[in-house]
Symmetry: C2
Subunit: 351 residues, 2 copies
Amino acid sequence: MPSAPRGPASSRRPTMAEVAAKAGVSRTLVSFILDGKPGASEETRQRVLAIAKEVGYRPDAAARLLALGRSRTLGVLTDVRQLFQAELVTGIYPAAEQLGYEVLLTTNLSDRPESVPIDALISHRCGSLILLAPTSGHDYLIKLAAEVPVVVVGPRLPAEVLGAGVDLASVRTDDARGIGDAVDYLVTLGHKDILHVDGGDGSGSPERRRGYREAMSAHGLEERIDIIAGDHTEEAGAAAARELLARPGLPTAVLASNDRSALGLLDVLTRSGVDIPGELSLVGFDDTRLSDFPRIDLTTVHQDAPGLAQHAVRLAVELLERRCSGPKEVVLRSQLVIRGTSGPPPATVRR
Amino acid sequence: MPSAPRGPASSRRPTMAEVAAKAGVSRTLVSFILDGKPGASEETRQRVLAIAKEVGYRPDAAARLLALGRSRTLGVLTDVRQLFQAELVTGIYPAAEQLGYEVLLTTNLSDRPESVPIDALISHRCGSLILLAPTSGHDYLIKLAAEVPVVVVGPRLPAEVLGAGVDLASVRTDDARGIGDAVDYLVTLGHKDILHVDGGDGSGSPERRRGYREAMSAHGLEERIDIIAGDHTEEAGAAAARELLARPGLPTAVLASNDRSALGLLDVLTRSGVDIPGELSLVGFDDTRLSDFPRIDLTTVHQDAPGLAQHAVRLAVELLERRCSGPKEVVLRSQLVIRGTSGPPPATVRR
DNA sequence: CTGAAAGCGCTTACAG
DNA sequence: CTGAAAGCGCTTACAG
């Protein structure tokens, strides 16, 4: 026996061959039966199934992958610290399961490049990759997609990237329109001094910034355009709030680039005695909600997480199975959800 | 060629054999070189490494696993909706990497049994499993641990489960003592009417409930013991708050079983005009914090997430490598973190 | 320093 | 309905 001595694991873990031996049939037949293929008598089927269950047989994914050459596994890169992504992940599982695919997860960590978890996914033979709000550059994405199909969820990809001739697709929310809806709503209420705390280069942030500018201009408010630089964290929102409070006057409305930033704003402003929405209206983006708890009752732009997840899975599978017919970019509509942090501007505007 | 035609993937993905052919050496040597083993001249080493890089060679984890018989991969079951678990996951990666292990993640979903994601982990040949706050019964855990080493992070496992003779270990916080510290602190401030909103059968909840009872008794406050049933969600905290508000009088302090529950309490109580901490002190558990943002400035019992993660990984690896010498239960101390939601009881106690 | 060879556990044409 | 056989890409004694 030229190979190394095996650990107790292999003796502990029953193989297909053992099931076959116990059942007195060939390995081929066991494979067919477990795969649900025809070709075995009903009686044999039952016996083999019973034995497999009895010995606790579990298919070895590694061997299966190796034999198949390609896996029915979708690799998902997420950031476990982002609650909105948790909602996407929650939607990805059932969508994948329905198409007969498994899902493997890895997470981004702040102290290592995104390519590390992505490499792990590829090494484990994920057939295609779903990247949630990736931060890598476009060159990297194109190189990656030349190797394995990639679906990017969140940020907008320029046409030249999507059209680079590789297996790269994009699923996202119509961020610009979502912010535009929020601006329209605030303007209708009578707001004019609407400020935007942006999300830096966070997923969707450039689009949201653009949507804000365009909507303000469309309402003839271009000279009221006012942007504080931020990112998609509570801390950035809190910092923006401090900056606002240091100014001579407050805007009547603030549009945060995401809910986390809005939370930071809400926290600092509320503590400083700013009445929300009486004195200032606050609107977030994402509608992050994993429980049914209304949390802070934030007016926000709702993203269709289950829809995004479903399309991402569909595209990932189509790309993998080489039958991607439709467009490689899916843009879902958002929906403004009006809750308790927004209302008409105060009668006496401070400016 | 009896096997099925391969998809474009295999032709696209370079193998070790291709690298060997290009370099004009044997596959064995390539394997040795990529593995960092001695046995090749420096010149050959460099050439092979260069070629591997040039053709974009990536090791095939499936084949590697199959050949090795055992994987250097740790499977982690988490719940992507639980922020505290995200902190554990964040700590698990670097700890595993340091020991030369990879990490594979799956998530619990509310609509399917925990055994589904666990089976996926096993199928992908994870050498051992780290289960974050699992909800499965003890019988299941014992059965599972007979098959593959299991480390449970969070809930306390009874001695008879840990001593069942299978590869099962536990890492947790001293929940009872943590709550006890919080009770001591509140009593020192002058509180007597200290109520506990428990966490049902959430991870650590039974211990926290016990700790509350014991600490209250130790202070001679057994007749003030008052528990509202809940779970580890904001919604449960909010429900408890509503129940409290419907009572004739409020306690002077509330101990929530975790931070999410405390958030729900805080939200509803604050909205109802209850002054926190002036009128009522609120204490959470976990110290969930992924950003540096103080969020709601909650007084809480801090859990050492990096420490829990590190011990979990260490045990998982020791169990896997059959050199588990030390105890199979690690209990880490918690630390009370006093912030803005707690203070002395109001001068005029409502009762 | 290097190569031929067996084996990991599975799948799937192919031939009964 | 069933079996013998090759192959997926890797690792590792063993023999030069």
